[in-house]
Symmetry: C2
Subunit: 267 residues, 2 copies
């Protein structure tokens, strides 16, 4: 299942007693459709407030119709904040976590300008000016195979903290077009809308949000772009920037190796 969701009103991906979660909503919908408890395995957890354009999850169930029809049935039972974008048959031993070969995240920011009440759930709003070129320089230094332990939330326990970052880019976005916003004359010019796109073979817990907090410090001139090299070398979480808030973060895509999903390798 390829799933998009607005994480604003959920306590994250993973089932938690007494809380509304994405996984919980999917499992509830599957129970209503099949009459059975079905376990849904996601490619990874997302925190409360984090959104997804292309989360991937798998499940095993008895279903006599096509996978596409299962997707339609799920959408009829899911809230307006969760949508199944694609449903396909997978090979028997497909595993949404183990078989993932890359993930891409996007983080949206705004520096200066007026607050947009219709965008606040999807973008971190910051006051003041920003040096985008310095952020771009620092982002390029994040790419490569490194030990990213400096960019891991304290208390996490992973076997290895080495990851390969394939891509890390700071993109200047055009003024947000919702068809519903009109801004005050004279204030629009000051706003800068940025998206940070980062892709890797895997991510440590809070890695993207700590990266963003660090890039914001560099964009504000607190540190030079070379700070990024120092932080990677230091292997010390205390030196990196603060963890950016969850609501600017989107899980864009999860990639799988050819053949890991379907026998023909098509997805």
């Amino acid at each position: 299942l390829t799933i998009a969701y607005d994480g604003s009103d959920f306590a994250g991906w993973q089932v938690q007693p007494g809380k509304q979660t994405i996984q919980g909503m999917l499992q509830r919908a599957l129970r209503r459709i099949t009459g059975h408890q079905v376990h849904v395995v996601g490619s990874g957890r997302t925190d409360a407030g984090v959104h997804a354009l292309g989360q991937v999850a798998s499940c095993t169930l008895e279903w006599r119709d096509t996978a596409a029809r299962l997707g339609c049935a799920l959408n009829a039972h899911l809230p307006e904040t969760i949508v199944v974008r694609q449903a396909i048959d997978a090979v028997d031993d497909f595993h949404a976590i183990r078989d993932a070969v890359a993930k891409r995240y996007r983080y949206q920011l705004q520096f200066g300008g007026p607050r947009d009440v219709f965008d606040y759930r999807y973008r971190w709003f910051l006051r003041g000016a920003v040096d985008v070129e310095a952020m771009r320089d620092a982002a390029a230094r994040f790419v490569g195979r490194h030990d990213f332990v400096s960019f891991q939330a304290a208390g996490s326990a992973r076997k290895t903290t080495t990851r390969h970052v394939h891509h890390c880019e700071v993109i200047e976005q055009a003024a947000v077009v919702r068809g519903v916003t009109e801004r005050e004359p004279g204030r629009t010019a000051a706003a800068r809308y940025l998206a940070i796109e980062v892709e890797a073979d895997g991510f440590l817990y809070n890695m993207v949000r700590i990266l963003v907090g660090t890039l914001v410090q560099i964009g504000r001139g607190k540190h030079p772009p070379t700070r990024m090299d120092e932080l990677i070398s230091a292997r010390n979480r205390d030196l990196a920037g603060p963890t950016a808030p969850p609501h600017g973060l989107f899980l864009v895509r999860v990639d799988y190796a050819q053949g890991s999903i379907t026998p023909s390798g098509t997805t």
Copy 2:
């Protein structure tokens, strides 16, 4: 005060005991800033879920600084879903309801295509095809000075139900650009994004939402565009379409006569 708000999480404009409302949030912010209870008068109420780009409200208070600084102070005390876009001094007898000469609303719809989890708070999502030309024809028939009692929620009591509609237009919007949505290949083509813009010297209770419900019936071919003339003539609420849901509706602008706000007539 010119105010924008995301109405999703509020019980509408007007103060209600035990509920979060826009007026209540503004009055709470003013109480924190001034130490006094200040009454805020809006140009009109908006229902729960209805949004505003340019609601206008006035209040009387002791304030030794500029109006613009009051606006900044308010924004520091308001939640992220409410923003004061402009604050100016008004003449002593300004009244936000009485002095309004026109209001403009926008209603956003989507026919067909994939659900967008990031747009559902701001747009009414409908399945199936739509005849936009038929809706345009019907919308043009809504313009003029008429008794709009057929388009008033049952149980309302207004002195007169005659209003002058200056403008009523169905606009086809480009695919929603959030910088965050990516749609499935092959499904995008089917989606039609529409905005209905309507301006009048005043509106009856639920008038825009009943207009939209009626235009949707016409767009789906349930009635021909001439149905609009018949409904206006009939003066019977039971004949008009259903009330469209609140979340697609935006109060865009409130206009005041030259001189009614400031002595110089500038706003």
